[in-house]
Amino acid sequence: MTHFHVTRGESGGFSNSVKPTDAALVQRVLEGDVESFAVLVDRHHERCLRIALRLLGNSEDAEETVQDAFVRAYRALGRYEEREQFAPWLTRILVNRCRTAMSRRVRHGKTFVDDELAIAAAPTRDSADSGMWRAEVERALAALPAEQREAFVLKHVEELEYEAMAEITGAGISALKMRVKRARERLRALLDGEEDR
C-alpha cells in the first residue's frame, strides 16, 4: 500500500512533490483519516461550486447544495469503486442534489430567479464590463429549461464528453446532444445584441 505524508498548506497543496491520487485519498479516508477528505474538498470544491451555481443560479443555494453533496459522498464512500474516477462520481451526486434542490424550490413555490446581489458579490478578477456581461449570460442561462441548462453546463462549461455526461445524468447521448444544441441556439437568441451594450 502506498502511503503519503500529506500536509495541507494554505492553498491546499502538499508538503512534498508527490500528490496522492483521489483514489489514494479515498483509501486513507476509509482507513479512518477524515482529514484526507479535506484534500478532496480542496481539489473539487470550486468545480462543484461552479456547476451548482450555474444550475441553481443562486450562490447561497449553490454553496449549501455543494456542502450536501460532499457530505453525502463522504457517507457513501464505502461504496465508491476504485475503478471509477472520483470526480465523475462526485459530480453525479452533485447533479442529483441540484435536481433535488430545484424540485424543492418548485415545491416551495419559488421561481427560478437570478441572484443579482450574489453575482455582483461573487469574487471575480474581470472588469466591470465583464461582470455585466456575465450577469446577462446568467440571466439567459436561467431562462433555459433545466435539462438544457444542465446539459449545456456539463458540455461546454465543464467540457465533459457525452459518454461521461450520460453516466452523470442518466440521459442518453443523443438526447444530451439535442439538449446542448437547443441550449446553444436559445442562448444565442437571447444574447445576440446584448453583447454590444
Partner: protein, 228 residues
C-alpha cells in the same frame, strides 16, 4: 473535439467564457464543508447509505400489499375517490442482520376509520441509531387509491421531496410502494399526475411553515413502527 461538440460562433465562445469564470472557492466555504463532514457518520467500507450515486441498498421485496388480506379490507371500504394508507411493513437497519436488530412482522390495524388506516409494525429493540451511528429505517408501505390517476408518487422529508424517488405502482386503481423511512417524524404528501399535491386525508397535518406547510405527518419509531 468531435463534430457537433464545437462552439459555432464568437458569441458562443463569449457565453461559455463568462460561465466558466466568476466563481471562486474560499477557504471558509471549504472549512464549512469539512465541519459538516466531521459531524457526519464515518463511511464504512462496502457500505453506503446514499442513493445519489446509484449505491442504494437493495433489499428483498415482501408480498405486494394488494395481495394481502389488508388490501381486501381496504378495497371494500374504498367507495370514496381517494384513500391513502401508510403501513409500516417492517423495521430494519441499513444493512441486514445487524446484531441487536430484528425483523418483525406487520399486523393489520382494524380499529381506525377505513379511509385511512395505519398498521404499525411491532416494536424493534434498540435505539433509533445503530451502534455505528447510522440511522435505523423502517420499511413503510404507502397505498393510495385513485382510479383516475395516471401516476402517483409519495414525497417527504425522507426522500427530499423528490417526486421521482418513490413512484407508486398501480394495480386496479390502487397505487402502492414500499419506502424505507428513517426513524423519526416526517412530513409527507402524495403527488398525483406530477403536479397535484394531495395530503393523506386522515393523517395529522403539519403546522404551517414559511412555505405554507400543511403536509401530513408520519412518525416512525421503535415503539410503534410507524404511525401518523
Amino acid at each position: 473535439m468531435r463534430p457537433g461538440d464545437e462552439l459555432e460562433s464568437a458569441l458562443d465562445e463569449r457565453i461559455v467564457s463568462a460561465l466558466r469564470g466568476g466563481v471562486a472557492s474560499t477557504p471558509e466555504a471549504r472549512e464549512r464543508v469539512m465541519h459538516a463532514v466531521r459531524a457526519s457518520a464515518a463511511p464504512v467500507r462496502g457500505v453506503g447509505e446514499d442513493d445519489d450515486a446509484g449505491v442504494t441498498d437493495v433489499r428483498a421485496r415482501r408480498r405486494p400489499f394488494w395481495r394481502s388480506p389488508a388490501f381486501g379490507l381496504l378495497a371494500a371500504a374504498s367507495i370514496a375517490g381517494v384513500i391513502a394508507l401508510v403501513r409500516a411493513v417492517g423495521v430494519e437497519g441499513p444493512i441486514p442482520d445487524v446484531p441487536g436488530q430484528q425483523r418483525v412482522a406487520s399486523r393489520r390495524e382494524t380499529a381506525r376509520a377505513p379511509r385511512s388506516v395505519v398498521a404499525p409494525a411491532a416494536a424493534a429493540a434498540g435505539s433509533p441509531t445503530l451502534g455505528d451511528g447510522r440511522t435505523r429505517v423502517a420499511r413503510v408501505q404507502f397505498v393510495f387509491v385513485a382510479p383516475q390517476a395516471r401516476r402517483v408518487a409519495v414525497v417527504g422529508d425522507f426522500n427530499d421531496w423528490d417526486a421521482a424517488a418513490a413512484p407508486l405502482a398501480p394495480a386496479g386503481g390502487v397505487w402502492s410502494a414500499q419506502v424505507d423511512v428513517p426513524f423519526g417524524r416526517h412530513d409527507y404528501a402524495f403527488v398525483v399526475d406530477g403536479d397535484r399535491w394531495v395530503r393523506d386525508p386522515n393523517a395529522p397535518q403539519a403546522p404551517a411553515d414559511e412555505f405554507g406547510g400543511g403536509y401530513s405527518v408520519l412518525v416512525v419509531d421503535e415503539n410503534s413502527g410507524a404511525h401518523r
